[in-house]
């Protein structure tokens, strides 16, 4: 294939070959966005009230179904376009064609992207046009026509284009590394799930240390920041691509259609940059895929493997992560950790052996597999132990530096829950971990450097008490304790962004008195009976 004319001819041929898929996608995307929006607008126009309109706006503003359809087709399309990679007879013809293999692959990849992105962009634009017309024809629909809307259309189109590409590359890599369609689908799921498992595993080492405060969904009053928005347990990460992809467009369209402007510009830009990052990452992955395509061995189709080490690397990486996760869960929560570790070992081995049976279509060698599994288990055990200890230690003893802090707060609250009697409805409430929403509380708030440093010193004294009295396992200590005060310490930077929050039980009476003197208010206390011991 020596000229551009031939490339366009082949693209037309591909369009003919996959015309049914292209039509199906166009219908799917149309139903997922413009059609649903149209139906909703018509329904509301005929009998809707303002209340319904208010509820419906986010739905017709954000093309959630279109994003979900894009996610699905992005993952599936490569399996349709590149299905010939699993057929030897077809590969005979493709690889014998007078075109460089890399060029053939890139044309096909481009086509796979094109049949998705063209109808998506058309439907995205159509949805925008429908919303625009609706807003002009009926006062029921709120949409300010301004530059932000056009920008939203442009950005969402960009996100769709970049996102679809990244999704495809993961599936293509799975196809190129496998020998059968079934394996291709399984490893496609695995490759897509890999970052999530990694993320949640890493995150699991960021919790359960003394002072840990989980994400709080309820908004706090009295000037306290909603922890969920900055989250110590962050739910946002560049790794969580599918989630970012979905939320980036949702954030963009919801805010635009509702308010005519980006209400949370920073958050959207973060999500957009992550999608952009994924797209940039997809370029070297595309280069890798091109190389893998070039060296794909036709004779290995339907055999045990294309690349000898691909399956073992994936299986053992996943195995290590799953074992670490299981070991962490059991060892953290039980005193009989060795018995639980043995259970994990045995169940893990049974699962591993089943995977090997499926992989080899028969009984694999028992003792050699047991040997490999023991090595994997030891590695997982060691990593879990090291991470648990290092992460716990780092997070436990972290205190922000004085020059980082612009404001500090200490909160004390009564254990009484707001839904328990007597409940004073008139009083404001806050969410106070571990009690939940409470309405008896006191917030000490300071911006003075000396007082902030005092808060830091108290924080350090609490940590020393934790170390000296071996309260390291959890924020709840073992045994019977009277008049324990639960407090929360908040640190903000000079821009009033929350940089740290910790929750502690203060056992030491002198320390309690020192805090009371600082905040000029008695601490709310509670009792820990002996039966509240950890693990029971």
């Amino acid at each position: 294939m020596k000229n551009k004319n031939h490339v366009s001819r082949y693209l037309f041929h591909l369009l003919k070959q996959f015309r049914a898929i292209a039509i199906l996608y166009a219908i799917l995307y149309f139903l997922a966005y413009p059609f649903i929006m149209l139906m909703q607008i018509l329904t509301l126009s005929m009998g809707g009230s303002q209340r319904y309109v208010a509820n419906a706006l986010p739905i017709y503003g954000a093309p959630t179904l279109l994003i979900l359809a894009t996610l699905a087709t992005g993952l599936i399309t490569p399996y349709i376009i590149f299905s010939y990679l699993y057929k030897r007879a077809d590969m005979d013809t493709y690889f014998a064609l007078p075109i460089r293999k890399s060029k053939l692959f890139l044309i096909q990849t481009f086509f796979a992207w094109l049949i998705q992105i063209v109808p998506i962009l058309i439907m995205n634009g159509l949805g925008y046009a429908i919303a625009l017309i609706a807003s002009k024809t009926s006062p029921l629909f709120v949409m300010n026509v301004n530059h932000d809307n056009a920008r939203a259309l442009l950005f969402s189109s960009l996100i769709f284009m970049m996102g679809s590409f990244f999704l495809m590359i993961l599936s293509i890599l799975a196809i190129l590394c496998t020998t059968s369609l079934f394996n291709g689908i399984v490893y496609g799921i695995v490759l897509n799930g890999f970052p999530y498992v990694l993320f949640f595993l890493w995150q699991s080492y960021q919790v359960n240390f003394p002072g840990y405060t989980s994400t709080i969904s309820q908004p706090l009053q009295k000037g306290l920041t909603d922890v969920s928005t900055i989250g110590l347990m962050k739910q946002e990460s560049p790794l969580l691509f599918h989630d970012n992809f979905l939320r980036a467009i949702s954030a963009l369209w919801e805010s635009n259609f509702l308010f005519g402007r980006l209400t949370d510009h920073d958050r959207f830009m973060t999500l957009f940059m992550w999608v952009l990052l994924a797209f940039v990452l997809s370029l070297p992955l595309l280069a890798l895929a091109t190389y893998l395509y070039k060296i794909r061995k036709v004779e290995r189709i339907q055999s045990t493997s294309i690349f000898r080490y691909f399956y073992p690397i994936v299986i053992y990486s996943f195995g290590v992560m799953l074992l670490m996760s299981s070991l962490k869960t059991f060892i953290d929560e039980s005193y009989n950790w060795y018995a639980e570790a043995l259970t994990v070992f045995l169940i893990g081995f049974a699962l591993y052996y089943v995977v090997q049976i499926i992989r080899y279509h028969g009984w694999p060698k028992f003792f050699s597999n047991l040997g490999i599994y023991i090595l994997v288990f030891i590695l997982s055990f060691g990593l879990n132990f090291t991470l648990s200890k290092t992460q716990t230690r780092i997070l436990t003893y972290q205190v922000p530096k004085l020059n980082q802090i612009g404001k500090a707060q200490i909160v004390t609250a009564d254990q009484m829950r707001y839904d328990e009697e007597p409940y004073e409805h008139e009083r404001p409430y806050i969410y106070f971990e571990p009690y939940g929403t409470v309405n008896k509380f006191e917030i000490y708030d300071t911006k003075g450097k000396e007082d902030i440093d005092h808060v830091r010193q108290i924080h350090k004294a609490i940590l020393k008490d934790i170390t000296d009295n071996n309260r390291t396992d959890s924020w709840r200590s073992v045994g019977h304790h009277e008049d324990v005060a639960a407090i929360q310490i908040y640190y903000y930077d000079v821009a009033n962004r929350l940089i740290m929050v910790r929750t502690y039980d203060v056992y030491d009476k002198d320390l309690q008195k020192e805090i009371e003197m600082l905040i000029n208010h008695p601490l709310y206390t509670y009792q820990i009976p002996a039966y509240e011991e950890k693990g029971y």
Binding site: R9, A89, D92, F95, A96, V298
Partner: protein
């Protein structure tokens, strides 16, 4: 000219072709023969760049990868897209092969009385092969590689195809390599034969050379000769039925020995390619 130097191809630890050397000149029709699993299809796939390999394969002095528009590989399993007709497939190949000839394509449709609009998946096995061959020949390759392409064709179609190949060779000087188990099929079309055995091309000879080099003779004796007859001689084959002995030998060196055994009858018999193939194979196996 196709030139293969030190071609080695392995599937895992199993070596199929080992330092194979071979040359095919222009305007030749070569039958590639060999036993099952000898590596005939593998060799064709290496030439067509379907398989990666070590060694060198060049066509007209350039790496075969750079000459792919001059080669066409007809696989043993015909390739087509779902619901596509031969007419649709023509467009597919035309976008890759710059020398695709509409004229040749139309002529072949006429010769084979082929319905180009019928979906290929609805065609019989033989017609699918026909479709693949029509498309392959229409791409105007200089080197046509055919893997078991005569299988599944009825005698009439085989004859027509043979005529077409001969025509292409005569008029356009293309080279054709046809792999087949059915040596008889190749006899009346090929200029020469290449025998692939023990991971190597163990002989390449033209039909003329084969006819001159291999002799099958029936000998009659007055008394049934003993087992010591021709012992130690370089015979490819010997079969005795009482007073009648049939031998196959290579070259002319044995003629005097045969005459010296004083047979009362020397009857030269025609020898088929298949017989040559079988005796050569057995001879190689005995040598091993």
């Amino acid at each position: 000219m196709l030139r293969i130097n030190n071609l080695t191809k392995s599937f895992g630890d199993y070596v199929v072709l080992d330092k194979l050397n071979w040359q095919v000149g222009d305007g030749q029709v070569i039958g590639l023969i060999g036993s099952n699993g000898a590596g005939k299809s593998t060799l064709l796939r290496c030439i067509a760049s379907v398989y990666s390999f070590s060694g060198a394969i060049s066509y007209n002095g350039e790496h075969v990868d750079l000459q792919k528009d001059k080669l066409f590989f007809v696989s043993d399993e015909p390739f087509y897209f779902n619901r596509f007709s031969t007419y649709d497939m023509k467009k597919f190949y035309r976008s890759f092969y710059s020398r695709f000839s509409e004229e040749t394509y139309q002529r072949l449709l006429e010769v084979f009385h082929f319905d180009e609009k019928k979906p290929i998946d609805k065609l019989s096995k033989g017609l699918k092969r026909q479709s693949a061959l029509i498309l392959g020949i229409s791409c105007k390759p200089e080197l046509l590689l055919m893997d078991e392409s005569f299988d599944g064709l009825d005698p009439m179609m085989r004859l027509k195809l043979k005529r077409e190949i001969i025509r292409l060779v005569e008029e356009e000087g293309i080279s054709v390599i046809i792999s087949s188990h059915n040596i008889r099929e190749l006899e009346d079309i090929c200029d020469g034969m290449a025998l692939l055995e023990n991971k190597q091309i163990i002989f390449t000879q033209t039909l003329e050379e084969l006819n001159h080099n291999y002799h099958k003779v029936q000998l009659g004796y007055a008394e049934a000769p003993g087992p010591e007859l021709f012992r130690g001689q370089d015979l490819l084959f010997k079969e005795q039925n009482n007073k009648v002995v049939t031998v196959i030998y290579r070259g002319s060196g044995l003629r005097e020995t045969i005459e010296a055994s004083k047979p009362i009858l020397i009857n030269p018999l025609p020898i088929s390619m298949e017989e040559i193939f079988v005796v050569e194979m057995e001879s190689r196996q005995n040598e091993k």
